[in-house]
């Protein structure tokens, strides 16, 4: 170790508190912009990666940011519904593959979304099961990797959907869903979702249901309010199932028409660029009750706003950095004054001017090196520890 480096090292070690204050001050001024920059960079990548892989999105007119964030990142934004009839219309048009999404429900007190969809979604997002199977049957669910790990659940376990209205007893009860599989980690919001078949979400919604067989001869007559050729009207006291089992699965049904079955959004995978263009044109018609979005464009617009906000932050950080720099200069000047006698002694002994300068510079260098290293570590930890974007949004 060179003399200046050794002496500088001894100095900063001996004056630990002063060094620590300097390092912390510098670290704070460095870590804030660095962590912000890294986080925005990371979120930008995450947002864009998912958006660019989602060619087209159909939803109800309203806030386009909400629709994209809801459909792609499963945020808790409220969006109006489109309907299953829209999916059927798309299928009939043969311009591409529609993937319906119903995202209105949650598990674990709203912490994690339930994603009602079709098996096409798993192929589209390249989601594979790590154990078990995909949700092939009504009432089945497959958990994202992080959700399964966080709740310590796996195939064979059960999970309840959240109570929708706690004080409204006419609402359906939470649905007890059977976990049939866990997905491989994808590094996307899918890791934190519970996937079910679309029809299962309608059971949670109370649109579909299963109940005691009212045509059985042994049914309690008090449960039957009216029986005629059109059907049977039952007493509300009839037992509705809150779990789909082998015994009762056949009893589940819906009385709703496709145009009454709600969806949060529909992802559309057009068969060709031409098909995409035709679809976009079709959904630009003013009489359309749905709107079609290109998620990548919406995310670009969103990030442009984020970057505008970041510039404001950058200005704040620059001010902090300038203040810290002034503080540092002040400390260096005061330190130089306090150590003037020490430098004089060194000069008497025969220390060169360069060595004296080197000593000060090395001390400052050590403080800066520690600050930079600490800033890097803290910024890295922040980026690593901050949860998935879906959690933030």
């Amino acid at each position: 170790m060179s003399g200046a480096l050794y002496l500088a090292w001894r100095y900063v070690l001996y004056h630990r508190v002063k060094t620590l204050i300097l390092v912390v001050s510098l670290t704070v001024s460095m870590v804030l912009p660095l962590a912000t920059h890294l986080l925005i960079e990371r979120y930008d990548q995450q947002l864009r990666a998912r958006a660019t892989k989602t060619p087209l999105l159909i939803g109800a007119p309203g806030k386009r940011f909400d629709l994209v964030l809801k459909a792609l990142y499963f945020t808790d934004a409220q969006v109006d519904s489109v309907h299953m009839s829209d999916v059927e219309e798309l299928r009939a048009g043969s311009w591409g593959t529609p993937i319906p999404l119903e995202l209105s429900y949650t598990v674990q007190r709203g912490e994690f979304p339930i994603v009602g969809t079709t098996l096409d979604y798993f192929g589209f997002r390249k989601l594979r099961v790590a154990e078990g199977t995909l949700p092939l049957r009504l009432g089945d669910t497959v958990l994202g990797a992080d959700l399964a790990r966080e709740l310590d659940l796996g195939p064979g376990d059960h999970i309840f959907s959240d109570q929708r209205q706690l004080y409204d007893i006419t609402q359906t009860y939470p649905l007890k869903m059977k976990i049939v599989g866990v997905l491989k980690k994808a590094g996307t919001p899918d890791d934190l979702a519970a996937f079910v078949d679309l029809k299962t979400t309608w059971i949670i919604a109370g649109i579909s249901h299963g109940h005691q067989d009212v045509v059985r001869p042994d049914i309690d007559p008090a449960m039957i309010m009216q029986r005629d050729e059109e059907g049977v009207v039952t007493n509300p006291g009839i037992v509705e199932y809150n779990e789909v089992t082998d015994e009762n699965i056949d009893s589940f049904h819906t009385h709703a028409q496709p145009e009454e079955l709600p969806l949060s959004a529909i992802i559309v995978l057009p068969d060709s660029p031409k098909a995409a263009t035709i679809l976009k044109a079709e959904y630009q018609r003013l009489d359309r009750a749905q709107r079609m979005l290109v998620p990548a464009d919406v995310v670009d617009e969103l990030m442009a706003r984020v970057i505008r906000v970041r510039r404001l932050f950058d200005a704040c950080f620059a001010t902090i950095a300038f203040a810290t720099l002034l503080f540092l200069v002040l400390v260096v000047l005061l330190s130089a004054r306090l150590r003037a006698r020490e430098m004089e002694i060194m000069s008497h002994i025969g220390c060169s001017r360069w060595t004296a300068f080197n000593l000060h510079a090395t001390e400052l260098g050590i403080v800066l090196a520690f600050s930079v290293a600490l800033s890097g570590v803290i910024a890295g930890l922040v980026v690593a520890c901050v949860p998935q974007l879906a959690h933030i949004l």
């Binding site: 001894r10 008497h348 002994i349 025969g350 220390c351 060595t355």
Partner: protein, 228 residues
Amino acid sequence: MIDSEDIISLEDVAFGYPTGGFELHIPALGIRPQERVAVIGPSGSGKTTLISLIAGLLTPRSGHVRVADLALSAASDTHRRSFRIANIGFVFQEFELLDYLSVRENILLPYRVSNALCLTRDVRDRAAELAESLHIADKLGRYPRKLSQGERQRVAICRALITQPALIIADEPTGSLDVETAADMLDLLFTVAEQHDATLLVVTHDRALLDRFDRTLGMRALTAGIHA
């Protein structure tokens, strides 16, 4: 008087600070090797200026300063610094140890701040021997603030001697000491100077100590010259 064997010689030296008000003129001064010389005089008489000229910390406006065959007055600042670190040992009034270095590292300081000197195992051994001879061997790992006044002065002397200098300059080393400790300090300086064949130049205010020196240089206050 100047002799060709003198280790220090000053000839027609004139010095004044840029701020003015003080002028030092030394027509001729010679100090022989291993001589023990006291420099006395009232405050402001130029004692510190004299030793600064001899150490090459200051350069005269005119005249010649020669120490151990080097014409200091003509040498560059860099040259004077490297000469000083290798040939002159300083003992300061307050000893001026660095609080963030241990006793061992304080003694070895000249080797840490000089590119010309190489810190070898021999040098470390020499530091240990010096500490042993000055009875501070058990304090080598301690920091100066944990030492007594007497121990600190011993460390300062070890630091002055570590480079085996031909000249030891002590600037009022007894200034802050009581009479008994001051006498001990001088004993110590005389002993180590003799052991290391070094010339000793001591600035002091204490006239009671003067008879122990080979020679006394008296500085006239604010004036020109030296009277022996």
